[in-house]
Subunit: 273 residues, 2 copies
C-alpha cells in the first residue's frame, strides 16, 4: 500500500489512519516486531534501518523501505531495537529531532540527556526472543510502555494494543525490577532444565521423560501460585533424601545449585538444613 | 461391577479379564492413581487400605472396598503409595505373601530383604502430585516400572499402559537419578518462580506479567533443548548488567541464587564472572 493518491479528498484514506513506525535494528526483537506489525491491520512499518545490508534485506517483506540510520526520516513512532550497549549511540546518531523515539529494553532506563533531541519512551515486549522462534503469538506477550509526555504514552499504548492483549504503563524502576524477575523466571529456570538434562544423560534416561513435569510445573505455578505449588525434600525438610541427593551429584556446579536452592527453600518454609 | 455370577460358563466374564489392584495409602499419589484406574476400562481397584477411616472414606467412590492394612487380601498388583519413610514398615506389615507388591517412589530403591515375603517391584509415576490438582491427565505422565521377575515387569507395563502413553522399564539407579533431575526441573524451578514473584511484589508489578514468559520458557526448552534456549546477561557475559542486577537484589537468598546460577551459566558457556 502506498500513500494516498492526489485528488482523494472525500474518501477516507486508510493509509492516513494507520500508525506508521520505523524500526532501527535487525536483531531478534526487531525481526519479531516487524513481523507482528506487518500482520496488524492498523500499523505500517515504513522503514527498517540497520548497518548491514544483508541483514536489512531480510526485512524487505515487512517494511516499505530498508535504509541506513543516516537516511531515516522520522515516523509517528521510531523504535530502537538494538542491544543495551548500542541504544545511546543510536539515539545520538538519529538524523532528526522532536520525534517520538523508544527503545525496547527491559534493563535500560528511559534515557535522558541534552544530546538526545527527540521525545523519549520505552516499548518493552516481555519475552525472550530468539531466531529459533518461527512463530510468536504476540497477543500473549505483555508490552510495557513508558514515555515522558502523556500523549506519547497514549500513542505507545495504541500501538502496543495492535499486537498485544496485555499493555501496561510502568516506570523505568519497575521495568528494571520486572526484567530482573524475568532473569530468574527465564534464564535461571532454563539453566535448571539443562542441569536436569545433564543428570538424565549421565544415567542414560531420556530427558523427554521430564517434559510433562516441566510443563506441569509451569502451569501449576501460574494457576495456584508458586508458594502453594512447592514440593520436594527441601520443602519437607527431609534431611536423609537431601543428603543422599547431594552425594549423588558429581558435577560441582550441580552441587552448588543443589545447596543454594535447598537452603533458599528451607529458609522460605522455615526448616533448617 | 461385581464378581461373575455362578453358572456363567460360556460367556466371557469381563470381570475376570480386568486387572485387579489394591492401593495402600490415602495421600495424593494414592488418590490420583485410584481416580485414574477407576476411569480405565481394564482395571478395577479392589481395595484401598489406610489407617485413617475418614481419609479412607473419600476413596469409596473409586474402590470396591476400603479396609485397614491388616484386612487386605492380595490382588494381582498391590501398590504401596505412601511416603518414603513408611514403605518398609508397610511391606513388613502386609498380611500376605508371594504377591506382587510395588511402591510408587522415585527415590526409594526396589527394596530387598528377607523380611519381605512378597515379590517386589516399582510403579513410579513421574509427576508432582498435590491435592490442588483437581484433574490430572495421566496419559501424559510417564510411568517407570521395575520388578525382580520379568513376568511381573510385564504385568506392571500392562497396568501402566491402561492409564499412561509413556511406560518405560528403568532400574533403581536410573530412577533415583531421574528423580534427582526432577528435583531440579520441578522443585528448584518452582522456587525460582517464587523469587520472581517476590521481586514483582516488591516493586508492585503484577506477577501475571511473567506468566507468558514462564510458559514459553518451558515450551522452548522442550522444543529446542535447554542449551540452545539459554539467553540473558550471564550467557552473554554482560558484566555491567550482572553487577547492577546483583546490587538491585536486597534479599540475601535472592543474591545467593543470582550468584550461584550466574556462575553456573558462565561456567557452562565458557565465560568468567
Amino acid at each position: 500500500m502506498k500513500a494516498c493518491a492526489k485528488g482523494v479528498h472525500l474518501q477516507v484514506c486508510i493509509f492516513d489512519l494507520m500508525m506508521k513506525v520505523t524500526i532501527i535494528g535487525t536483531g531478534n526483537v526487531a525481526w519479531h516486531l516487524a513481523k507482528a506489525f506487518a500482520t496488524a491491520n492498523q500499523v505500517m512499518v515504513m522503514q527498517v534501518a540497520g548497518r548491514n545490508l544483508k541483514d536489512l534485506k531480510r526485512f524487505s517483506k515487512f517494511a516499505q523501505q530498508t535504509v541506513t540510520v543516516e537516511n531515516l526520516v522520522p515516523e509517528q513512532v521510531n523504535i530502537i531495537a538494538v542491544s543495551d550497549d548500542a541504544i545511546m549511540t543510536i539515539l545520538e546518531r538519529l538524523p532528526f529531532a522532536d520525534a517520538l523515539v523508544v527503545h525496547t529494553s527491559g534493563y535500560t532506563q528511559m534515557l535522558l540527556g541534552d544530546r538526545i533531541r527527540n521525545r523519549r519512551g520505552v516499548f518493552y515486549p516481555l519475552q525472550s526472543f530468539s531466531k529459533k522462534d518461527v512463530h510468536l503469538d504476540f497477543s500473549e506477550i505483555p508490552i510495557l510502555v513508558e514515555a515522558e509526555d502523556p500523549k506519547d504514552t497514549e500513542t505507545l499504548q495504541l500501538l502496543a494494543k495492535t499486537i498485544s492483549n496485555q499493555v501496561i504503563e510502568i516506570d523505568s524502576e519497575q521495568r528494571r525490577e520486572l526484567h530482573l524477575a524475568a532473569v530468574f523466571a527465564n534464564n535461571f529456570t532454563n539453566h535448571l532444565y539443562l542441569v536436569a538434562q545433564e543428570i538424565c544423560q549421565k544415567s542414560e534416561v531420556p530427558f523427554s521423560l521430564l517434559h510433562a513435569l516441566i510443563k506441569k510445573t509451569a502451569s501449576k505455578a501460574i494457576a495456584n501460585g508458586p508458594k502453594k505449588s512447592q514440593t520436594g525434600p527441601a520443602k519437607r525438610g527431609d534431611k536423609k533424601v537431601m543428603h543422599t541427593q547431594l552425594q549423588a551429584l558429581k558435577d560441582p556446579k550441580h552441587k552448588d545449585i543443589y545447596t543454594t536452592m535447598t537452603k533458599a527453600i528451607q529458609a522460605t518454609y522455615g526448616k533448617e538444613l
